[in-house]
Symmetry: C2
Subunit: 297 residues, 2 copies
């Protein structure tokens, strides 16, 4: 285990245990659906988004273990997008985290339904009692639903698909930022913003966290694009040529690998600058920021 990984071991275990204990496991009929959900949700995920959420909660000196249900909600949403994204009618990927994708094992129909069920489960988790005013929790749910839907994550996926057919480079840089900001950034933003709502942060801190989330999402995706471009199948654990095969719009494709790396570095500098302007109690965000930025998968 790497040093950085150790820093997240406790939170990962808490999140994994919550998911394991709260995922429906038996049903009179339709067991494959639950097995399919379990296969993807309890796979070896990095749990970056729920950890981000928990760390922003923790910064307010609040017991993060009481917020595991909402952390689980965020992970369930992330998980459903991966299953649907891998389907033949979208990315058609065979591998995810070094293992067969959900539909490769369970079939396309069950994978589709497992994704649907995980999105419902996300909101079942999100509505579990939290130790805050219920009114704030409703605002958190609305924020998660909004950033997870057609104003956030899903429109990012839509444009990602459409971008394959586009040709004009000048427009493309704008589209690429839109894709990353929505497809990847929205759920990172949701993880941070819902925690900010729960902990009633000041308007000033909220603004910094919001900007931080924006660049964190962008940087995360540029890193993903670069890894996808240079890594071997062994390291990244999925078919590294799938995006190129599908002619997806990516940073290395649009700018070349060197400029993509430079943009990545600029983005990271902005993140650190924003982090430094946060109140001291947010210090625990630093190692997750570093982890997200230096990851090899």
């Amino acid at each position: 285990m790497k040093n950085t990984d150790k820093n997240f071991l406790k939170e990962r275990t808490l999140i994994d245990d919550y998911l394991k204990n709260n995922l429906p496991t038996t049903t009179k009929y339709g067991q494959s659906l639950l097995d399919s959900m379990k296969y993807s949700l309890l796979s070896n995920g990095k749990r970056i988004r729920p950890i981000l959420f928990l760390r922003v909660v923790r910064a307010a000196n609040i017991d993060q273990e009481k917020f595991l249900s909402f952390a689980g909600a965020i992970e369930a949403m992330h998980c459903y997008t991966l299953i649907h994204d891998d389907l033949p009618l979208i990315d058609d990927d065979d591998l995810r985290r070094g293992k067969p994708t959900n539909h490769k094992l369970f079939g396309d129909a069950t994978a589709l339904l497992a994704g649907d069920a995980l999105l419902s489960l996300c909101f079942e988790f999100a509505a579990q009692p939290l130790p805050i005013e219920p009114k704030l929790q409703l605002m958190m749910i609305k924020k998660l639903a909004c950033l997870g839907g057609s104003k956030g994550l899903v429109v990012g996926q839509q444009v990602d698909i459409e971008a394959e057919k586009m040709t004009n480079q000048a427009t493309n840089s704008d589209i690429l930022e839109f894709i990353h900001h929505h497809k990847t950034g929205a759920l990172i933003l949701a993880s941070i913003e819902t925690a900010a709502i729960a902990t009633k942060v000041s308007a000033k801190t909220s603004q910094i966290l919001n900007n931080l989330a924006y660049y964190l999402g962008l940087h995360f995706q540029i890193t993903d694009d670069i890894l996808e471009f240079i890594s071997s199948e062994d390291i990244i654990g999925k078919d590294t040529f799938s995006d190129r095969k599908n002619s997806k719009l990516t940073y290395p494709k649009l700018y070349g690998i060197d400029l993509a790396k430079k943009k990545s570095q600029n983005c990271f500098n902005k993140i650190i600058k924003l982090f430094n302007s946060l109140p001291a109690q947010y210090h625990d965000l630093l190692d997750i920021i570093n982890y997200m930025s230096n990851r090899q998968r």
Copy 2:
């Protein structure tokens, strides 16, 4: 317009207007996603589930117009299931309500994403402020998510797909009831139960409403099976042979058309008996019950 339809005109208009005014309509990129969502959500739906919800709310002498956001949430959930169900990897239907299915117009990928976005939109609507204690609203959201997911609607879809491969008739009648209770019944149950939570009905009334919802869902689906079996494409507005083509398990297939009709009648008798045992203020449920039971599409 039929007489029965007139009884629902006001509610349908309210629901349609809510959806129309609250569906995102423009985006910088990815406009097809919003067009695809709009195409299905603002199609000529019967709005049965949100009307059921509103009528149970109204029975408590509460202004139903303040609950349109939650009614819209229920309809958005219903709509997403139709889009995903029609996809080639599930039912592969070309027509819905006499018009091309979503994927036929927008393509499989966009249809999949439109369904995903509608499910998120469902919870965005569900979390809009209601004139009740926020704690109750959280319980409503949890109930909707639970009945809409792997313990309700989605597991019903899963078993519906799996049932095609099953052969034993003794087991099949149990499976068929499971499918109908989950695939169709769960959202009808959710429509009624969430309204019961919102209006804090007594335990006794809640139990009757719960049973009523159960038989209403079952009856609704038997009716659907029978219509599917006997109707022409003109009346039902979708490819009437799709279920038979896919060897789906249905009441007419399992029992023959006459016994299916008899079972349907028995089920309706139970519904009326339950309705008669409800307090008088629920009288407005009767015409929606009759409408659901006598529909031709």
